[in-house]
Symmetry: C2
Subunit: 422 residues, 2 copies
């Protein structure tokens, strides 16, 4: 922690911060936290950002974040995407030499990586290599993922906001579906979640029991095998009592054999199968077998970019994770990830701690069995106490000319075209 005169007596050096993996609407808030807190510590000189995550560290594509205006740094608090650019790039041991050359030449002794699982593996790798070669480096991971599947931390920054948006959207779609109920209607919303059902489960917050808007009626997550026949039976059961049936489905649902119910057959740059069509699969089943109209909405990237509907609490926690990372590093920590520790549900209070990267990297936290109800197609009310605090408060976004207004780094010019990157 900084002393009154701003002198820490800590390791003297510059900061390098990077963002990695898929964006969330609060990942830039963590970046703002790192930048703002770095300025509070006399032992820290320059604050650099690596463009396009790990790739920028290896390639030496850095920008001077301290040169950015206050307007831009403040604007990061509500801007979606990753202001520094991200990547789907796995740090290979062969990139290590380049990365340490870059850090050495820029006097970098503080490294912060804001990211999910894969990013935490990279932080671990860099920290271990630094120790091995005797390079003084404080490497700290800052959690980020809409998927909420990071271990140890109570929840991950980014998750609360996606749930707030998905729940609000599900409620709005429910109201529209209810309006059109002069014939049976099935409405299907596909949300993200390749391996874990955290996002789909969060849509349960849209339910407004005791009103006509008690939807979603069915929620399908990857933690339970999806069965076509059981799904159709469940839809019919819902339509006996309701004028419509709203279904929320995670993109990654699989059948009993463990196969995705439908895939596009395309592989992403990491060789992972691109998912697509969970909603279309359910739509097909309903229309072919029940002869009932089914509509689909696929929120896609919108759900992790909807900064105009972000959780204020999530945003503040994301910022704090950035701040705490800098404080921990100045105090001497390395090879750790910042975690959020829930102290109390109601009133909701948290503290921040550090986890060993070995306990986080490569681990996936599934949605707990205890929060899935017996039917396998609804989330139990026990989950409410966990998730509800995470979506509280509305982040205000400025609008200009009627459209939400976001910032971009002025120093990131070379990051605007392909030519600067290749």
């Amino acid at each position: 922690m900084a002393t009154e005169d701003g002198m820490d007596g800590g390791l003297e050096g510059n900061v390098l911060v990077a963002q990695s993996g898929g964006p969330t609407v609060v990942i830039n808030s963590s970046l703002a936290g790192v930048v703002q807190e770095s300025l509070n510590h006399g032992c820290i000189g320059e604050v650099y950002g690596a463009l396009n995550g790990l790739r920028g560290i290896a390639n030496g594509h850095l920008v001077d974040l301290a040169a950015e205006s206050q307007h831009v740094i403040r604007g990061l608090r509500h801007t979606p995407g990753t202001a520094l650019g991200s990547c789907r790039f796995r740090f290979q041991p062969s990139d290590l030499e380049n990365a340490f050359q870059v850090m050495r030449s820029h006097g970098i002794h503080y490294l912060f990586l804001i990211g999910g699982n894969g990013s935490q593996i990279a932080v671990q790798l860099l920290g271990e290599h630094a120790a091995k070669i005797g390079y003084p480096l404080r490497a700290i991971g800052i959690p980020k993922t809409i998927d909420n599947d990071l271990a140890i931390t109570d929840h991950s920054p980014g998750y609360g906001s996606v749930v707030k948006y998905v729940a609000t959207t599900a409620r709005e779609i429910a109201i529209d579906d209810q309006s059109m109920g002069d014939y049976n209607l099935v409405s299907i919303i596909e949300v993200m979640g390749r391996d874990a059902g955290w996002i789909a489960a969060g849509s349960v917050l849209a339910r407004h029991m005791g009103t006509p808007f008690d939807a979603p009626h069915l929620i399908y997550i990857p933690e339970r095998p999806f069965n076509d026949g059981e799904f159709l039976t469940s839809v019919q059961r819902v339509l006996e009592n309701n004028r419509y049936c709203l279904v929320v489905v995670a993109e990654g649902i699989r059948n009993a054999a463990g196969d995705y119910v439908r895939t596009s057959g395309i592989k992403d740059p990491l060789g992972r199968t691109e998912l697509g069509g969970a909603a279309e699969h359910l739509q097909f089943l309903v229309e072919q077998h029940l002869k009932i109209k089914a509509r689909t909405t696929k929120l896609g990237i919108a759900q992790r970019a909807a900064a105009h509907c972000a959780s204020l609490r999530d945003n503040e926690e994301a910022f704090q994770c950035g701040v705490r990372a800098v404080q921990a590093a100045v105090a001497g920590a390395t090879g750790k990830m910042v975690t959020i520790v829930r102290e109390n549900d109601s009133p909701y209070t948290v503290s921040y701690a550090l986890a060993d990267l070995a306990d986080v990297a490569g681990k996936v936290r599934k949605f707990p069995d205890a929060w899935i109800d017996e039917s396998g197609s609804m989330i139990s009310s026990n989950f409410f106490r966990y998730v509800s605090p995470l979506i509280q408060g509305e982040m205000e976004v400025p609008y200009k000319g009627g459209v939400a207004e976001y910032v971009h780094l002025q120093g990131g010019k070379q990051f605007e075209t392909n030519s600067g990157q290749r």
Copy 2:
């Protein structure tokens, strides 16, 4: 207009108001306008709402709107869907006898129908039949459609809000796409628009020229035949200068032969082909022919239900259309639709007028040729002056427990389950 003492000397009678067709986020604001203005006129007694639109008029499923609380009527101003329920039901001449029986037994002499094209045909029919049988009825249509395809009126309530949401979402997705640009990426957003490209065209407001977020780069609307090869060439051209290509496509794009590029093969209750898969068709083209990753987002019902991102101006105009309909009817008008007349672009000012239903019913206003640029895949800047005023101002929605909070009619109990309707 009401005189000072609230006495109009107008036709004495009760009001019946109904909502019809697909919802918008401001159709309930028009309903609130009708209810609130009706209370200002001494010649108006009861204010009834018909459940499920035209079907409720024919079946006599009415609710007493004057019995609803102030809280509910105020809440309608920001609640999506149709509070009275809607329908996809075409009013047949055989339903007329029932409808007039219902109106006669409830002393209804003022009829307001909030809806799009099909609804205006029904208003015309009811008005003409009233004249024929000598039943005193003032029948006025109130415009409503996200599609903005109603004739005569400068624009339709509902359009500004869907454009505000689509443009904000397109900008947010652009920022996310930009973040991930360590490899080429094509991102496709499918929006509504079966016959007209108004909604897709409105996404042009997301563009933020001179920044990295100058997307969408390509916009495809039904007014221009879609050509697979030209599309692929355009995508490649965009990717020469940008790290990603954001495409917005209307669901109703057709090839040169006039066929939808992809349909689900399913028919809706009116026998119209269900569209589906415009985005998937483009995704397929990009992935198969260019071997570039393509992502899709299908906003579906979310776009016409996103009250949390509604245009304040659109909302106020929708309310005013309800108010003006009542004022016109009390003053003696019938067989008309309220229209919005643009007086000036900047500063934007409008007045309200009445159009003959014969000039509106059954007409479709296409997106003007002059606003499509030469390439056929971008909207010209001339369109900005028209559309920009329509999305100004942010409608504030209350949040409760972290989720946007909406109202429902207390009198609409029978409307909550199928059993009450059948």
